[in-house]
């Protein structure tokens, strides 16, 4: 039987995090949250979830460490190269026609997806007219995204992915290697605005031509997914594009009618109608 003491304590902890810190994980997919909170209990050295609860209420400095368990920072540059290839070949031609562009990377984590798009836009000659908005709820991740430094041993995979996305340049054009780290070019960041924004508790922000939000919605239950999709609907310009992760879709959403499948296989949608 489900360990109901843990379940009850987790519910209380999530309520407290919302009431005291305005982080709302109450409608996240529970099995994954539970697994990760039980890991947090062990790794942070607590005896029970109840102990985590009282500690985080007493001591706000525990919050960022807890957020590192409650959110998942697993990513890659050009993760699923075929997604980026589809953007390049099918979406970019439409975006070219605009005098200026706004792109929102929602749930940007440590910046891998963000810089993939920044590099892709650079390769396609659109970088200079594009503003990127990169948002996440994890402050540590946002800081890492801003720093744009990755362990060099991850870059081999990034490079392979980049090539498969139909690269027009070499990834090494964009970073310098330094003591086992790849430091990405500062100029990539010049048109990026980073901000703390939650798809659960914050409002839409507007007139985006492309929103890329990958592998964030799978952590939400269906109602919460729908809230986030509603935000995207409001935030997109007419005929703007929405890209989701490979196992995420609008199929079950109440907002499905507001979108058409643009590259169905890659979960790229276009805003249609009102």
């Amino acid at each position: 039987m489900a360990n109901s003491t843990d379940d009850h304590e987790i519910q209380l902890l999530l309520e407290d995090l919302f009431q005291h810190y305005h982080y709302d994980f109450r409608l996240y997919a529970r099995a994954s949250i539970k697994r990760r909170l039980l890991q947090a209990r062990v790794q942070l050295g607590f005896g029970s979830i109840a102990e985590i609860r009282s500690a985080v209420l007493r001591d706000a400095t525990l919050l960022p460490r807890l957020l590192d368990f409650l959110t998942v920072q697993v990513s890659e540059m050009f993760r699923d190269p075929s997604y980026f290839r589809a953007l390049r070949e099918q979406v970019i031609p439409h975006l070219r026609t605009y005098p200026s562009l706004k792109v929102w990377v929602a749930g940007c984590s440590n910046g891998e997806e963000l810089y993939s798009l920044a590099i892709l836009f650079h390769e396609e000659g659109l970088a200079r007219k594009t503003m990127f908005y990169a948002t996440d709820i994890n402050p540590t991740a946002l800081k890492a995204a801003q720093a744009a430094v990755y362990p060099l041993d991850r870059v081999r995979q990034f490079t392979e992915n980049h090539q498969q996305s139909g690269a027009r340049s070499s990834l090494s054009d964009y970073y310098t290697a330094d003591y086992g780290r790849a430091v990405f070019d500062r100029s990539l960041g010049s048109q990026i605005v980073f901000s703390d924004h939650s798809l659960v508790t914050d409002a839409a922000f507007g007139e985006m031509h492309l929103i890329s939000c990958r592998n964030v919605l799978i952590y939400f239950d269906r109602d919460l997914q729908d809230r986030a999709i509603g935000l995207f609907r409001e935030s997109l310009a007419r005929r703007g594009f929405l890209g989701l992760g490979s196992k995420e879709s609008l199929r079950f959403s109440a907002h499905a009618d507001a979108f058409g499948a643009f590259v169905g296989k890659e979960k790229i949608y276009q805003r249609i109608g009102a």
Partner: protein
């Protein structure tokens, strides 16, 4: 949620299966022996290369009377249906009898990991789950099977002497001493008895 088959019996049990090297063969034999109307959903993690497209479903479908599909995020589990974890994603079972996918870090170098499916199934269903560990060359699933056993569920392991790769069955038996070690045909019999 409405059920297109018109079948609204509430689900009470589920079967979870984990397999790795040599698993396609072993799984085919089991799935081929189960009837189309098998009353429990069957959730499967089979280790395959991360980047492969999921050909598994295509491969298994013609051999199996049950509906075979790749598990979709947040879908409701149904009777008579086999769900495969998609390559590159963990498959988790929720207490609400739905499934969830995640891109959490690999566990035991695997994503999907058998441990993740089995541990969440044990959590969701307690005694009402049957876990089966088949052939494989690593230790994934041992912890998970142990969790199923501890929660009062039924723990089954393919007889290592029959398994193409005995490492994974052996590790599971070691971690979960209450598990029964059975040959494939006996595993099928055990699953059929649960359907009765």
């Amino acid at each position: 949620m409405t059920d297109p088959t018109g079948d609204r019996t509430p689900l009470e049990r589920a079967v979870v299966i984990g397999a790795s090297a040599g698993g396609v063969q072993a799984l085919s034999s089991i799935l081929a022996a189960l009837p189309a109307h098998y009353p429990h959903p069957i959730l499967i993690v089979l280790h395959v290369p991360q980047r492969s497209d999921s050909l598994l479903v295509e491969l298994m479908r013609p051999k199996c009377g049950m509906i075979v599909k790749e598990a979709e995020d947040k879908e409701m589990l149904r009777q008579g249906t086999v769900y495969f974890a998609p390559p590159g994603y963990h498959l988790l079972m929720e207490q609400t009898m739905t499934v969830a996918l995640s891109t959490d870090e690999p566990v035991n170098f695997s994503r999907p990991a058998i441990d993740v499916l089995f541990e969440t199934a044990a959590d969701a269903l307690g005694p009402d789950v049957t876990g089966v560990i088949l052939t494989g060359a690593n230790h994934d699933g041992a912890q998970g099977l142990c969790a199923i056993g501890a929660a009062g569920g039924t723990a089954i392991v393919q007889d290592p002497s029959e398994a193409e790769m005995p490492t994974m069955p052996r590790a599971a038996l070691e971690a979960c001493p209450s598990a029964r070690s059975l040959r494939i045909d006996a595993i099928v019999q055990a699953l059929l008895r649960e359907a009765a």
